[in-house]
């Protein structure tokens, strides 16, 4: 089985104003694979939420932080695999939980979005030099019933 093919790598300031540009580039990269809007919109949303968590929680708003995102195509599994990496202090994955949806209040939805949209969500040990690593995978034939 061949290793997943690297399709894109982004490195950006971990700041709210950097995320719009990343979303635009992710849209372009996904469209280049032949993906259409009902797939692109939720996948970009989930990746944006993962990056938001780095900005808000891992770096706690420190504007000097840097985050990286990698996108790979796993042909054998017919899925896209993403890694979100940062250089912040390690976060205990056990503390990253979605809130109950019937508790209607502002905030706390990002983890729910990520886990609902992605087929796999894992926190592998980060590569040397990084603080945290989030690995996400979504099947290319995945459909999202709330879209459209």
């Amino acid at each position: 089985m061949s290793a997943p093919i690297l399709l894109g790598r982004w490195r950006l300031p971990a700041r709210p104003d950097a995320l719009a540009g990343l979303r635009a580039e992710l849209r372009t990269a996904l469209a280049a694979l032949g993906a259409t809007e009902p797939f692109i919109a939720p996948v970009v949303l989930a990746l944006n939420e993962a990056c938001m968590n780095v900005v808000q929680h891992a770096y706690a708003g420190n504007p000097e932080g840097v985050l990286e995102l990698e996108m790979r195509h796993d042909e054998g599994m017919e899925c896209l695999v993403f890694q979100v990496l940062d250089y912040a202090a390690p976060v205990d994955p056990a503390t990253i939980r979605p809130r109950k949806l019937d508790d209607v209040r502002p905030g706390g939805l990002g983890v729910h979005f990520i886990r609902t949209i992605m087929d796999a969500v894992e926190y592998p040990p980060p590569p040397p030099g990084y603080g945290n690593c989030l690995s996400l995978a979504v099947r290319l034939d995945r459909t999202f019933p709330w879209e459209g």
């Binding site: 939420e49 209040r105 939805l109 729910h112």
Partner: protein, 110 residues
């Protein structure tokens, strides 16, 4: 992101446009809370919103909760496409009053 606030009968209409993300949310929160705290019924026109993430949803929920506390109506109008998708994903499409257009809600007193 941009927004405009207008009055229509007794109601305050907040029309949002563009991408409602983490960078835009401070301004969105401010304009929504100002509209709600005016005491008027508030409808948020989402027709021109092209993207909304969980931070934008949080701003809308804060507006709703503030309106509920003071007993004034709060509704979302013209939520379509990806914005409606995000509301459904958050299972908030049954929590908010959703209006297909601004004429549909008698509570606004339009």
């Amino acid at each position: 992101m941009s927004f405009t606030t207008s009055t229509r009968g007794k109601a305050r209409i907040v029309a949002l446009a563009g991408e409602i993300d983490m960078a835009a949310v401070p301004k969105v929160r401010q304009c929504l809370l100002e509209a709600v705290k005016s005491g008027a019924p508030v409808a948020v026109d989402l027709a021109a919103v092209t993207y909304m993430d969980s931070s934008g949803i949080a701003a809308l929920v804060e507006g709703l909760q503030t309106a509920r506390k003071q007993g004034t109506p709060f509704a979302l109008a013209k939520a379509e496409g990806p914005v409606l998708g995000v509301l459904k994903l958050a299972r908030l499409d049954k929590v908010f009053t959703l209006l297909p257009d601004l004429e549909q809600w008698d509570g606004l007193g339009l």
